[in-house]
Amino acid sequence: MSSVTDVGPVPATRTTTGKPRPDRKPRGNVVFAVIAWVVGLLFFTPIAWMVLTSFHSEADAATNPPSLAAPLTLQGYREFFGASSGASPWPPLANSLTASLVSTALVLLLSFPAAYALSIRPVEKWTDVLFFFLSTKMLPVVAGLLPVYLFAKSVHLLDNIWLLAIFYTAMNLPIAVWMMRSFLAEVPVEMLEAAAMDGANLPRILRQVVAPVVMPGIAATSLICFIFSWNELLFARVLTATRAQTAPVFLTGFVTSQGLFLAKVCAASLVVSLPVLIAGFAAQDKLVQGLSLGAVK
């Protein structure tokens, strides 16, 4: 175990060798601040470029060298929303929203009681159950894709957004169970005992005692499930066609170049990413908790 995990970080430790030493000198701090800014700007450049290009005309977007100060226009957005092609992105966006919200709600509904049975009033061998959930996440989804497709075809549910929402629920449920469990494990036992003494039944305990305490955890779980559902491409591409097409599937229409269309591509990429960008920025700290399955608080 140690030999494998040591491989990655070795170059990192080497490059930082001399660095921490000037730590306590103010000049060293300035140098590190400058490096941090440069790295941050470098990582942000593709996004800044995407935003800027989306507000340029197609002709200005396709110059070499790039024309940074070209006049701004909404032409790219008008084109994306179907000004000349007539193909509106609104139905795919609405489909994505439906699949993401429905699956997130289902995930919460299923994972919340399950997390209770894995932490507060645990079943026998609850660790085995927990690891079973995690192990399902390690199996590549692509290997289960064909049976899912054949099933959808046989029950005439291909191109149906609700079926997609059900599969997104299965996709996110293991992550949600892990996250919720880590949050529920911190609920003080006395609170629950008092509630049980009062003769409250399980749905009431969950709703009135546990839920208010783990609200931040529920928020983090929802955020992660929403983002993963919104981003998903493989299942959506195989299971949907024209009616239930989601936003990422709509975006694959831009894979092959179509003459001058850079501003339109950038506008499309930005619009589709906007819900995730907003949700993610609004809940930066939740993001960390969620991504680490609740292990990092």
Binding site: P9, I47, L234
Partner: protein
């Protein structure tokens, strides 16, 4: 019946106790069952079907030839050059993206762990790449950055060349020149923020008083990093590596968008998708799926052991 009643009259107390235990265990299981049953039906059942189809001769283009195929699908998977190459691509892609993102993520987390002017702004800028929808990110990299005629990379090269009054700037076609590296770059750009976030959280959970004491005792910055920060970060590195591997090994979007699986960049998820969706060869796609699952189980067993150590430490606290 009567016999049974007679024989159980005496140990009535213990029977009640047992019944109570059983009903207690049952009531504990009830809240778990919906999620468990749902997961088993939707994630385990498909794999069983895949396993069955992998032994069948089934191509949707030739429906009349459907039947038992023995191990011929598996033989074709292992003898097929493209399939074997995709295994290699998957390993290289996953290892490169996870390791480079971890190293970069750690360096950036160390930078952001210090106080400096605008730290929150830099942190926000760093997170942004992870919040771009993967398909959109791949589109932007393909068309707006890598494009040889009007992409940003070649545009910057031209601008720099013009600045120094030189003519004929090099204008490489990035994707044709290094297709797999192009995909890896786009993925590393998206996954470095993920690693950074986990490692930054780890760094901020360090016991600062101990580190302060060490530095007062004359420990150098390097010594503090090597003997205090790094051992503390290790479990976060393992967590980031494990989660990153789970997600990156399944990469489909970036391959589909940037190269469409061409130029030798088809990884296993892409090639299985292609075999099933385009070639409609259900038998062979399933056999490849089974091979992937077996390979993943081998890796996952190791990975799960890592997590369970982490998990036990967490529980012990």
């Amino acid at each position: 019946m009567s016999v049974a009643v007679g024989s159980t009259t005496r140990p009535a107390g213990s029977r009640d106790q047992k019944a109570q235990q059983r009903s207690d265990a049952r009531s504990r299981r009830v809240p778990l069952l919906p999620a468990l049953v749902f997961t088993i039906i939707l994630t385990q059942l498909p794999f069983v079907v895949t396993l069955v189809i992998s032994f069948m001769n089934w191509n949707a283009y030739y429906p009349e030839e459907r039947g038992f195929a023995g191990i011929s699908n598996f033989v074709r998977v292992f003898t097929d050059e493209a399939m074997r190459h995709s295994v290699w691509v998957t390993i290289v892609l996953t290892a490169t993206v996870v390791i480079v993102s971890l190293v970069l993520g750690m360096l950036i987390a160390l930078l952001l762990d210090r106080k400096f002017r605008g730290r929150a702004a830099v942190r926000t800028m760093m997170i942004a790449p992870f919040l771009v929808v993967p398909v959109a990110a791949a589109l932007v990299w393909k068309h707006a950055l890598f494009n040889p005629e009007y992409g940003l990379f070649n545009g910057v090269i031209t601008a720099v060349w013009n600045l120094f009054g030189m003519s004929n700037p090099p204008q490489p076609d990035w994707i044709s020149l290094a297709p797999l590296v192009s995909i890896e770059m786009a993925l590393i750009w998206q996954w470095t923020p993920f690693m950074m976030l986990i490692l930054l959280a780890g760094l901020q959970g360090r016991p600062l008083d101990v580190i302060e004491a060490a530095s007062i005792d004359g420990a150098s910055g390097w010594q503090i990093f090597r003997y205090m920060t790094f051992p503390h970060l290790r479990q976060y590195l393992e967590l980031g590596g494990l989660l990153g591997s789970i997600y990156v090994v399944q990469t489909f979007d970036a391959v589909f968008v940037i190269t469409s699986g061409g130029l030798g960049t088809a990884n296993l998820p892409f090639i299985i998708y292609q075999t099933f969706y385009n070639a409609q060869d259900y038998g062979r796609a399933s056999a490849a799926g089974v091979v992937v699952v077996v390979g993943t189980i081998a890796i996952a067993t190791f990975a799960l052991r890592t997590v369970s150590t982490l998990f036990r430490e967490e529980g012990g606290r």
